[in-house]
């Protein structure tokens, strides 16, 4: 072996990874070669430094980190699959039961299954009727609110808030009334055009637990978060908080569109800037609406007492009007549904039940959102009416 080959083998010798024959050859070489002995000693020292440096710096994980991973892993587990052998046994049992059952009742479903499907259909129709009723109420309230502020210019603070709020609510409801509003020369359309004014970029940088975090909301409303190692982006604050909740919790990022907080530090745009951002992000939530009203009321009130009175009165009116919402009575012809369901075979009934359950689930989610939006729309109408009286 040459000294160069020995030099390469010394590494493996120190790692305890040479086979017996090779180790013997290397040790024989070390007995007479002073240069390689020197290399061996240097290398041993270097290995020690490397091991100390690489292994010594590591700090173990916290219990919370370990727990968080375990929770994430459990949440990611797919539904348990049935092993093939067990599946074959189940199919065999199922087939034999099916043969006996079909001899008794052909392929007609049992009465309790029919009843369940009828109940699901009633439930779906009820949701559907309620959703239509709530949507109609929202449209009515938004229409009234826009009518009251129609005579005002896009620079009027109340008119601007109501116009942007009503557009965002209508869009979240699934409608985009902008074309129609433009045709009618509605103020909301004017505000939207005027909203092209730059909203300004808000940025905040802070050190949290030794890591430097930077959160920026651009003029397009998009929020970018840079943390050591990576960055994320979201369309608005709501999306950021829901899609990256762990990151936000870890670095204490919160706020709303146009108002960012990281830890104890905060940065925000003025109200007009925030409205412009809300127009772009389409996020009109309870907080935005309260801020809009508060901003307007603060400018109108002559003193703190009047401001407080206005706020309290607005709160009470919002609360009272939320109670006065129309209830929708679903018109379901149970007999007709029952007649139809009874003609279905087992397979058809099962598929129908699955389809209806999936539709009902989606309707439930939309209904829940519509109910929240109804409160916003009602609040906007009350805001507009108060601003109309106050001119």
């Amino acid at each position: 072996m040459t000294c160069r080959e020995i030099r390469e083998a010394l590494d493996a010798l120190l790692d305890g990874e040479l086979d017996a024959g090779e180790e013997l050859t290397v040790r024989d070489h070390l007995d007479w070669c002073r240069g390689c002995v020197q290399d061996y000693n240097d290398l041993r020292e270097w290995h020690g430094s490397l091991a100390d440096a690489l292994a010594g710096e590591v700090v173990g994980p916290t219990t919370a980190e370990r727990r968080r991973t375990a929770d994430a892993v459990i949440a990611a587990i797919r539904p348990r699959t049935v092993p093939m052998s067990r599946l074959a046994a189940l199919v065999a049992i199922g087939l034999s039961v099916g043969i006996v059952a079909s001899a008794v009742s052909l392929s007609r479903p049992p009465g309790d299954q029919v009843a369940r499907v009828v109940e699901r259909i009633r439930e779906r129709q009820s949701h559907d009727a309620q959703l239509r009723a709530v949507s109609a109420e929202i449209e009515r309230d938004l229409g009234e609110a826009r009518k009251v502020i129609a005579a005002r210019g896009p620079e009027d603070p109340a008119a601007r808030s109501v116009a942007i709020g009503s557009l965002n609510i209508a869009r979240r409801l699934g409608a985009d009334p902008l074309e129609e509003l433009r045709r009618n020369g509605d103020l909301a359309a004017t505000v939207l055009n005027a909203g092209a004014a730059p909203a300004g970029c808000i940025s905040i940088t802070r050190t949290v637990d030794g890591a430097t975090i930077s959160v920026t909301q651009g003029t397009d409303g998009r929020i970018r978060v840079s943390v050591p190692g990576y960055q994320v982006e979201a369309r608005n604050m709501k999306e950021l908080l829901s899609d990256h909740d762990e990151l936000c919790r870890r670095y204490r990022i919160s706020g709303s569109d146009g108002f960012l907080t990281v830890g104890d530090s905060a940065a925000g745009a003025d109200w007009k800037g925030r409205l412009n951002l809300l127009l772009r992000t389409g996020a009109w939530d309870e907080q935005a609406q309260w801020d809009a009203y508060r901003d307007w009321a603060a400018a109108k009130a002559v003193d703190a007492k009047e401001f407080e009175h206005r706020i309290r009165s607005y709160q009470e009116r919002c609360r009272d009007s939320a109670k006065k919402t129309a209830s929708a009575a679903p018109a379901v012809n149970v007999e007709a549904v029952l007649r139809e369901v009874k003609t279905l075979t087992r397979g058809e009934l099962k598929r129908t039940q699955e389809r209806i359950e999936s539709e009902t689930k989606k309707l439930e989610a939309r209904l829940q959102e519509a109910r929240e939006l109804r409160e916003r729309a009602r609040g906007l109408r009350l805001f507009a009416e108060e601003a109309g009286r106050d001119r």
């Binding site: 390469e8 590494d11 493996a12 790692d15 990874e17 270097w46 290995h47 430094s49 490397l50 091991a51 100390d52 440096a53 690489l54 292994a55 010594g56 710096e57 590591v58 700090v59 173990g60 994980p61 980190e65 370990r66 968080r68 991973t69 375990a70 994430a72 892993v73 459990i74 990611a76 587990i77 797919r78 539904p79 348990r80 699959t81 092993p83 940025s203 940088t205 050190t207 030794g210 890591a211 430097t212 930077s214 920026t216 840079s226 943390v227 050591p228 190692g229 990576y230 960055q231």
Partner: protein
């Protein structure tokens, strides 16, 4: 809970049992976290470890019975680390004018700091081999299985990594 044997753990995970995956994390998390820390640094260690276990959940149907769980997890960690590096490089290359300085390091010996700094300059396959050997104490054969390469390659990579690192550190020492 650490009372699962390897075969019980594998069987439980194959069946998708929650308690088995919980035990998998309990048994292997600290080791994967330690390696993730050495490879990617303190800030990314927890995320990299978590991504490794999440990828393991997805990949479990492909786990071969003759493989060792710990080695298999290390191979997944390596894949995730490669993805992490690619993401990091893309991010570094992006024109981010407001990139911020890293937090101040803990005061540790100069040579140790120098080594840790220079390890980051090694190519991924050299750095991973070095970390698996020195941090985890894995044998050449296990490293070879985790990195899907011959044992001879592990040996030459370790040699190459140490040589390069020594050159980098002594270069930095020169005034």
């Amino acid at each position: 809970m650490n009372t699962w044997s390897e075969s019980e753990l594998v069987a439980g995970c194959r069946e998708g049992r929650r308690e088995a995956f919980d035990a998998l994390v309990t048994v292997h998390y600290d080791r994967i976290h330690r390696l993730a820390w050495s490879l990617a640094g303190a800030e990314a260690a927890a995320d990299l470890a978590q991504e490794t276990f999440l990828a393991a959940v997805k990949a479990f149907p492909r786990f071969r019975a003759d493989a060792q769980l710990s080695t298999w997890l290390v191979s997944i960690l390596r894949n995730q680390y490669s993805l992490f590096l690619r993401g990091l490089r893309k991010w570094k290359a992006a024109p981010l004018s407001d990139r911020l300085p890293a937090p101040e390091p803990r005061p540790i010996e100069r040579e140790v700091r120098e080594i840790l700094d220079r390890v980051k300059d090694l190519p991924e396959e050299l750095r991973t081999t070095l970390v698996l050997f020195h941090v985890d104490g894995m044998k050449y054969a296990d490293i070879a299985r985790a990195m899907e390469c011959p044992v001879g390659t592990v040996r030459s990579r370790l040699f190459e990594a140490r040589e390069r690192l020594k050159r980098l550190v002594s270069k930095a020492d020169r005034p």
